[in-house]
């Protein structure tokens, strides 16, 4: 009684999945996992091991992917919104992370007590949102293309970050500060994972229970039409950029919490490129419109998965980018509409003579 209907449901689920944009990152993830399984099955082993201080912690490649992918996942959330609303990308997030980290350390270096952590976090977020608003207002009110508008902060960001701390290495003595980039006492799972999860949930709820998601899509698909329907595209674009600023602020806070130190020219290097790739990998159109934050976050973890895989294969950290580029090109070429159409036409042609032969 139940079987046919459930089979039908399965079938529709499969076809639905095939059309769904989450297929691209999912397929990439599965391919990577399969690759690792063949090369070295021990890649997936997770163990509970004591660290230097004898505290039991989960360790393994999968854990480190989830841990170090957190910042990228958080950024991907904001980047997806910005991409969808403005049809462009923000290339200043890496610089913004440097600024946020620098601000956090500046505030904490003066303070002796742990009580300053929350104010430091809040001030960092507020500052990051301000910078986001700067980018956003250039895009929304001056109508400069996002990539070019954010080029300003991209050029200045690391300099500003160095300037905030006078290019010195601030010393942070707080005991609780490393919790945010490391482990909470008694919990063997890295904290950034929880923060990323929390950010994702908040964004998801925000999109679920407010009209923001709908408005962002509307503006991204057709700005003129959305204005005629009573939306204000400029404010929606601005809010997307402010949200991305917030994401970068949180990511910067995590990033400096990992080491309680900062290297202005190296911190979060090239992370803007990874964040944009995460959005593209998630199957979102880079020219705006429809978006799916779940797919973007998955895309972010796929990129981290790829990076970790390359590291376990003993690829030098500087050369990782070359392999990454090849993978990206293959992915992008495969998902390009033109190539898909050609492939589909080719398959049809092959199938057509066969059917003709069978019928004859």
């Amino acid at each position: 009684m139940n079987t046919p209907s459930s089979a039908a449901a399965q079938d529709s689920l499969f076809t639905r999945l095939r059309r769904h944009q989450i297929l691209i990152p999912l397929a990439a993830l599965l391919l990577l996992a399969l690759f690792n399984l063949i090369i070295d099955p021990s890649f997936f082993s997770i163990s509970l091991r004591p660290n230097n201080e004898g505290v039991l912690l989960l360790s393994g490649n999968l854990i480190s992917i989830l841990d170090y992918g957190s910042e990228l996942a958080i950024l991907a959330l904001g980047m997806t919104l910005v991409t969808a609303a403005s049809g462009g990308q923000d290339i200043s997030v890496g610089a913004l992370i440097a600024i946020s980290g620098s601000i956090t350390l500046r505030i904490l270096s003066g303070a002796q007590s742990d009580a300053m952590i929350l104010p430091a976090f809040l001030i960092t977020c507020a500052a990051a949102m301000l910078f986001g608003a700067f980018n956003g207002s250039l895009v929304a009110f001056f109508r400069i293309q996002p990539m070019i508008a954010t080029l300003i902060l991209f050029t200045a960001g690391r300099s500003v970050a160095a300037w905030i701390n006078h290019n010195e290495q601030p010393f942070v003595s707080s005991e609780r500060f490393p919790y945010f980039g490391g482990y909470l006492p008694g919990i063997p799972v890295p904290t950034p994972l929880f923060i990323a999860l929390f950010c994702f949930l908040v964004t998801w709820l925000l999109l679920k229970f407010t009209n923001l998601g709908l408005y962002v899509q509307a503006v991204g698909i057709n700005e003129k039409a959305s204005r005629l329907n009573g939306l204000n595209p400029a404010w929606i674009k601005l809010s997307a950029f402010v949200l991305l600023g917030l994401c970068a602020g949180v990511a910067g806070f995590i990033k400096v919490s990992r080491t309680a130190s900062i290297n202005y020219s190296v911190i979060a290097n090239n992370i803007e490129m990874d964040a944009i790739l995460a959005v593209a990998l998630g199957g979102n159109s880079l020219s705006g419109g429809k978006f799916n934050i779940g797919a973007s976050v998955l895309g972010a973890y796929v990129i981290q998965f790829l990076t970790t895989t390359l590291f376990t294969l003993n690829v030098q950290s500087d050369s990782v980018s070359a392999y990454k580029a090849v993978v990206v090109i293959i992915l992008v070429v495969c998902s390009a509409p033109t190539v898909r159409e050609k492939l589909a036409a080719l398959l049809k042609k092959r199938r057509a003579p066969k059917q003709a032969g069978q019928s004859a």
């Binding site: 049809g87 462009g88 990308q89 250039l138 001056f142 109508r143 400069i144 293309q145 990539m147 070019i148 508008a149 080029l151 300003i152 902060l153 991209f154 050029t155 200045a156 960001g157 690391r158 300099s159 500003v160 160095a162 300037w163 290019n167 490129m273 944009i276 790739l277 593209a280 880079l286 020219s287 705006g288 030098q316 500087d318 050369s319 990782v320 980018s321 070359a322 392999y323 990454k324 580029a325 090849v326 990206v328 090109i329 992008v332 070429v333 390009a336 509409p337 033109t338 190539v339």
Partner: protein, 359 residues
């Protein structure tokens, strides 16, 4: 009849775009001259010597070539952020080829051009014929070039090849521009070989954009892809050509950069792509496409160099001031551009929907 009509319409389209271009170029040139006069009056000493000007050219010859390529791509409405990576890859490959494989200088130059062409070919093909976003393709190109640089060789090293060193040390003396040093000895003003190549490239591209049909196709494609297609322009071929030329120029620029620094390093030309984009924008090129010109780019590069040099001569020589002033200048130019374009659009009241998103 048909072709005459086409010509008329295309020339009208061109006229509108070129007048935008000329306006933005004029602003850049004026700002550069004003800044230089300001430096001459306030800071005096160094800026009164012609050699200071020539040094700016010497330092930025490679950037000028890269920016020319970037301008061309931006005129068609695209972007190429792989040029910095290609520059690093070219200088590292040439260094390894000259020192470890005892190659010749001509071979190294060919190698540089080959690498540039290869990048241009692949990226151009992917962008023009497979319709993949230029940003993603050239981003991957940048990653690939940077990664390949460290695969070719990790260590930074100076080239010892005798023939190359002779070429590197070649100075071309500019007549009548020398100056007397403190001891009263006359010193000739000079430029490096790379500057000649850069100037040649700039002039050739300028003439191509102004005088040839292919050159005008670039503006047509960037201004409005749809109408360019209807005018009978081969859009795909034009886009492909722009990336091919940009790749080739990245190769040449890489070799000029290599001639200037004489070493191979993975960190060479870091951020060069962003400097090139900034120079193009300051020079009046717009990323929406259809607007831009090589003379503007030339002054854009020089303005960028001049502002950095002025800031450091004011005693703000901490590294971060450079970044901040360049960004401030970029911000200023962008806002001026945006305001001017918005006013002109309002003035002409021509709503033809050409202000589409960049491809």
């Amino acid at each position: 009849m048909m072709s005459g009509d086409r010509k008329k319409r295309s020339s009208r389209l061109l006229f509108r775009n070129l007048s935008d271009t000329n306006l933005l170029t004029a602003i850049t040139v004026a700002v550069f001259i004003l800044m230089y006069l300001f430096a001459m009056i306030v800071l005096q000493r160094g800026y009164l010597k012609p050699q200071t000007f020539f040094n700016m050219l010497n330092e930025n010859a490679a950037l000028l070539i890269l920016s020319c390529g970037m301008t061309l791509v931006m005129i068609t409405g695209g972007i190429d952020i792989s040029v910095g990576g290609v520059t690093a890859l070219v200088s590292m490959s040439c260094a390894v080829y000259l020192d470890y494989h005892s190659g010749s200088v001509a071979g190294a130059a060919l190698l540089a051009i080959g690498i540039g062409l290869a990048f241009g070919l692949v990226q151009g093909f992917l962008i023009a014929f497979l319709d993949i976003q230029p940003f993603i393709v050239t981003l991957a190109g940048m990653f690939f070039a940077r990664g390949m640089t460290t695969i070719v060789n990790v260590k930074t090293f100076n080239v010892q090849h005798a023939g190359f060193l002779r070429l590197k040390e070649t100075r071309i003396i500019v007549p009548f521009c020398g100056s007397y040093n403190k001891a009263g000895v006359y010193i000739d003003a000079y430029i490096e070989t790379g500057v000649l190549i850069a100037l040649l490239v700039t002039i050739l591209l300028f003439l191509m954009l102004k005088r040839t049909r292919t050159g005008r196709d670039f503006y047509a494609v960037g201004g409005n892809r749809q109408s360019a297609l209807m005018l009978g322009v081969n859009v795909r071929r034009t886009v492909f050509l722009s990336y091919l030329i940009c790749g080739l120029l990245a190769g040449i620029g890489g070799f000029v950069y290599f001639m200037h620094v004489g070493s191979g390093s993975a960190s060479h030309a870091a951020g060069a792509e962003m400097n090139a984009i900034a120079s193009s924008i300051i020079g009046g090129t717009m990323l929406t496409g259809g607007v831009g010109n090589m003379i503007g780019t030339f002054f854009g590069v020089l303005s960028l160099a001049l502002i950095q040099s002025i800031v450091s001569s004011f005693g703000l020589d901490q590294a971060w001031w450079t970044g901040i002033t360049v960004a401030a200048m970029l911000c200023l130019f962008l806002i001026v551009q945006s305001v001017i374009v918005a006013r002109r659009k309002r003035g002409s009241k021509q709503q033809n929907g050409s202000a589409g998103k960049g491809a």
